[in-house]
């Protein structure tokens, strides 16, 4: 039963993923040269999130996993986001 769910990523696809990640990194380094004011952090975080999603899906084989695990991973990130938001309900309105 072990072999039927043996998904294998090909070397080339992994290499492409790396290339994408490196491009995103270069992009985020480049973009900090511009000053978007308050948006700088937002932009940096959005790019980072895209990178993280890429790693999760491809390197960590989330695309091969069952729906439950995928939901779980998303849920954990959402959970953390909610905690941060709630904390800021305090700090932001102070």
């Amino acid at each position: 039963m072990k072999h039927e769910d043996k998904h294998i990523s090909s070397y080339s696809s992994l290499a492409i993923v790396l290339a994408v990640l490196l491009l995103l990194t270069a992009f985020s380094v480049w973009i900090t040269g511009f000053h978007f004011g308050a948006f700088t952090v937002a932009v940096a975080l959005i790019i980072a999130s895209v990178k993280v999603a890429t790693v999760l899906i491809n390197f960590m084989h989330l695309k091969f996993e069952n729906l439950f695990l995928r939901l779980l991973v998303t849920g954990v990130f959402v959970m953390f986001a909610l905690v941060v938001i709630l904390t800021f309900v305090d700090y932001y309105f102070r």
Partner: protein, 204 residues
């Protein structure tokens, strides 16, 4: 579901993997606590954070990002290799991963010792004379990168164990849970860094 022999030494791979994922969640929340602290202080002292981040060397940071991304790929490839039964290649790729991790640590070492030379370390006089925001930034910097570096070290140990196991053949194309889980762990180390990098180095 393998229900017949739960007392045997081999944990089936779905079970082992689920365990690892859940462990990774706890790691995420461990760093999450620090990210929350970062967010609060960053909101409070954004100007000082900008200033202090300027002290960090974005080049070294970028280098390290590249090392980690590369190593993430090599460890993922080594898993592909072991699944395909190519032991030599797998061994080589794990080896490269460890090497890249080592390079990361060397870089980190230089970065930290550079800071120490300038007297920037927790509790130092130089820091005490800086503004509060800068002081907190460096406190967070050391705490976050320190904890992360610790995880890199653990990852290196895990990968080294894999080297031994691949050699001895106990990690092979049928049983590669150990490598799979170590790879997951290693990717997590990468994930954390992906967030740390812009937050610490790129907010100038």
């Amino acid at each position: 579901m393998s229900v017949h022999n739960t007392h045997s030494e081999h944990i089936d791979s779905e079970t082992g993997k689920l365990g690892m994922w859940i462990f990774l969640f706890t790691e995420l929340f461990l760093f999450g606590g620090l990210f929350l602290v970062y967010a609060v202080f960053r909101a409070k002292y954004s100007a000082e954070f900008h200033l202090a981040a300027g002290e960090l060397n974005a080049f070294i940071g970028t280098m390290n990002t590249v090392f980690l991304l590369f190593s993430s790929m090599t460890v993922a490839m080594s898993l592909t290799a072991i699944q395909k039964g190519d032991r030599k290649l797998a061994l080589f790729l794990v080896f490269v991963t460890i090497l890249l991790a080592g390079l990361f640590m060397v870089n980190k070492y230089f970065e930290w010792s550079h800071k120490f030379e300038y007297g920037i370390y927790p509790g130092s006089e130089v820091l005490k004379n800086m503004s509060h925001g800068e002081l907190l930034f460096f406190g967070l910097y050391y705490m976050m990168t320190g904890l992360h570096a610790l995880h890199v070290l653990v990852g290196m140990v895990l990968l080294s164990i894999n080297v031994v196991k691949i050699r001895s053949g106990s990690v092979n194309s049928d049983h590669y849970l150990m490598l799979e889980n170590s790879a997951l762990y290693w990717h997590l180390v990468d994930l954390i860094w992906i967030f740390l990098f812009p937050l610490l180095y790129l907010i100038t």
